[in-house]
């Protein structure tokens, strides 16, 4: 393990009643990295964060902070700070006093407090808001105060629990950029929890994809997008066509009744596998030139591209293309070797990947409702 590991979670398990919230979870977090815990609601990401923050004790496993086991250390003695989902600003204190809260507990001198608060307000672009009442601020401003308050005590690690969930889309995008800037400027480790895959991909150095209290994959945003480990990761991150396939030999596979060149190797000859093809990686060609042929069943205009659903032998593919193809037309499809990603079969095989219904969109919606 590398030297710059700041937090190491070892075999963490948490059970609430009969619910296994986290199951034998192990991961480490490097100093100064932006790491995101990504997954649907109930996947255990917030629980993991609360364990690091000290608000929840695991039933089993160790939490190591800079080579010291910190199980049982109360939150106020940990060098981590949290940005809460609903900000949790103190309503009886003004902006200044909220940010000064942690500094007063540290018993800093009044001038020092004043300087730090000023610096923090400048950092989050709220200079001049010192005397404002918390309740008079907009959601975005409250969010900034929460960030300033947590950063004022100079934490080693900042925990962020879906901090942008309550903001509207435009503001959320701006804050994503701002948070990333703050993280890079201050060189603090950020552990970020979200169910928004786009947010995770655009902000993180490392993404941890979780489901059912188990880590599905850890990697850079490119890794988890391009090389998903299983059907769950492939489906949860971005759009994907996930097909039942067979490995014929190294660099050669078959699915949808055709044979393809690919870049994957090391599977058994004839091994059943899951094949991922991203919608943007499918080329539409004339029927006679296509390796696969199918019939367009729906077209949706998305601005940058069209999203078309193509029925290929009963399996509905999603294809993103800039060329309009009318519904009912028979088209040919070609897939380059580097667009094909082969995964081992997992318990998620067969659950995702067909676009005969947009089930995953509905899942996302229910996520939000559950978390409210």
């Amino acid at each position: 393990m590398e030297n710059n590991v700041i937090i190491d979670l070892k075999n963490i398990s948490v059970k609430l009643g009969d619910n296994q919230i986290l199951e034998n979870l192990s991961m480490y977090i490097r100093d100064k990295e932006f790491i995101t815990l990504l997954g649907p609601s109930g996947c255990g990401k917030t629980t993991t964060l609360r364990i690091i923050g000290g608000f929840l004790e695991p039933d089993a496993g160790e939490i190591v902070f800079e080579d010291k086991v910190i199980n049982g250390v109360p939150p106020h003695k940990r060098q981590v700070n949290t940005i809460f989902q609903r900000y949790a600003l103190f309503p009886h204190l003004n902006v200044y006093e909220n940010i000064a809260f942690g500094l007063r507990i540290k018993k800093l001198k009044e001038e020092e407090i004043r300087d730090t608060v000023k610096e923090m307000l400048a950092l989050v672009n709220l200079s001049g808001f010192e005397r404002r009442n918390i309740n008079s601020l907009s959601g975005g401003q409250q969010q900034r105060v929460a960030i300033a308050r947590a950063l004022a005590v100079k934490p080693r690690v900042l925990l962020l629990d879906e901090p942008l969930g309550a903001l509207d889309l435009k503001l959320r995008k701006d804050m994503q950029v701002e948070l990333k800037n703050i993280q890079q400027r201050l060189g603090i480790t950020f552990i970020y929890v979200t169910h928004d895959q786009e947010e995770a991909l655009s902000m993180s150095d490392t993404v941890v994809v979780m489901d059912g209290g188990v880590i599905q994959q850890i990697g850079t945003p490119q890794d988890v997008y391009n090389e998903p480990k299983n059907a769950f990761v492939a489906d949860f991150i971005g759009e994907s066509n996930i097909l039942d396939g067979k490995m014929l030999e190294d660099f050669k596979c078959s699915f949808s009744g055709a044979q393809f060149q690919c870049l994957d190797k090391g599977f058994g000859i004839g091994e059943s596998v899951d094949v991922v093809v991203r919608p943007e990686d499918v080329d539409i060609v004339p029927v006679e030139k296509g390796i696969l042929t199918g019939i367009v069943t729906s077209v949706t205009f998305k601005g940058v591209h069209f999203e078309i659903i193509v029925d290929i032998g009963g399996f509905k593919w999603m294809i993103q293309t800039t060329d309009y193809e009318p519904v009912g037309k028979k088209i040919g499809l070609d897939i380059e070797p580097d667009a094909i990603h082969i995964m081992k079969k997992s318990r998620y095989s067969g659950l995702y990947g067909d676009y005969s219904s947009f089930s995953d969109e509905i899942d996302h919606l229910s996520d939000i409702v559950e978390e409210e």
């Binding site: 106020h76 949290t82 507990i105």
Partner: protein
């Protein structure tokens, strides 16, 4: 159309206006009228000037009221905090226990304290059995204050408990997160949050304590007459409505002053303020 609407609105609001006028404004005016007139209805300041005879009683009433309120607060605050922090089922049981005494008649409750505190009452009999006592408890200032605390304690617990339950747990976690230990969380988060409940509680205990007459009669034996007793005497025995009204008026003004001071104090920390009487 517009006129009809406003007429309908006025009609709807009228019962409330009539009610307020009949039972709040008119009696207030009558109190003031009686306070400044004599038996024949002529204007006089005699009633007001006679008030100075009862300065001690006024001071005693307010003093006892303050003591009772402080004791209630000291008992009620931790109780309310503990109830609010316990599990939902425990909470409803405990709140039930706080409220059950309120279902019994106020006079009956006070009367039973007489039996308990009397020189040959239940407590002294028990003390005698273990070879201690007897303690003289009935007809003391302590007994009067005990009666006030016992009777008005739920009115302190309930408003404090109500604001405590509204405390967002994430605020406590945020304070811990920023380095606050349990004591600091309590002082910096829980206490400021509960101020509005405390202010309502104080109002709801102090006002009835200051103006009570039954408790002081039964548990004080007449030797610790409060202003309520004097007022009652004017109406029931002396039949001097005018002087009774003057006493009531002054009591009302004193309570108003106390409450204004209280509200100012509460306002400093909590802009929202509490439920006031």
């Amino acid at each position: 159309m517009k006129r009809k609407d406003s007429l309908a609105q006025r009609l709807c609001a009228s019962p409330h206006i009539v009610w307020s006028a009949l039972f709040i404004v008119v009696p207030l005016i009558m109190v003031v009228y009686y306070a400044f007139t004599d038996k024949t209805g002529a204007f006089t300041l005699d009633n007001i000037s006679r008030l100075s005879d009862y300065t001690t009683t006024f001071l005693r009433s307010i003093w006892y009221g303050i003591i009772a309120t402080i004791i209630c607060l000291v008992i009620a605050y931790p109780v309310a905090y503990i109830i609010a922090r316990s599990k939902a089922r425990v909470q409803s049981t405990m709140i039930m226990l706080v409220m059950i005494p309120m279902w019994m008649n106020f006079l009956l409750r006070t009367y039973s304290w007489m039996t308990l505190l009397a020189d040959n009452g239940v407590i002294n009999n028990l003390l005698a059995k273990i070879g201690a006592g007897p303690l003289h408890m009935i007809n003391t200032a302590g007994a009067v204050i005990l009666g006030m605390v016992y009777n008005f304690l739920p009115y302190m617990i309930l408003p404090i408990y109500t604001v405590m339950t509204k405390l967002d747990n994430s605020l406590i976690e945020a304070a811990q997160d920023l380095g606050a230990n349990k004591a600091r969380v309590f002082i910096d988060v829980v206490v400021p949050h509960s101020i509005s409940g405390v202010v309502s509680g104080i109002t709801m205990v102090f006002v009835p304590s200051v103006s009570t007459f039954y408790i002081s009669q039964k548990l004080g034996g007449g030797s610790f007459a409060l202003i309520g007793d004097i007022i009652e005497m004017q109406f029931q025995i002396s039949n001097n409505f005018n002087f009774g009204a003057a006493l009531s008026l002054v009591l009302m003004i004193l309570i108003l002053i106390c409450m204004t001071v209280m509200n100012r104090f509460g306002d400093n920390d909590e802009s929202k303020g509490g439920v006031m009487i």
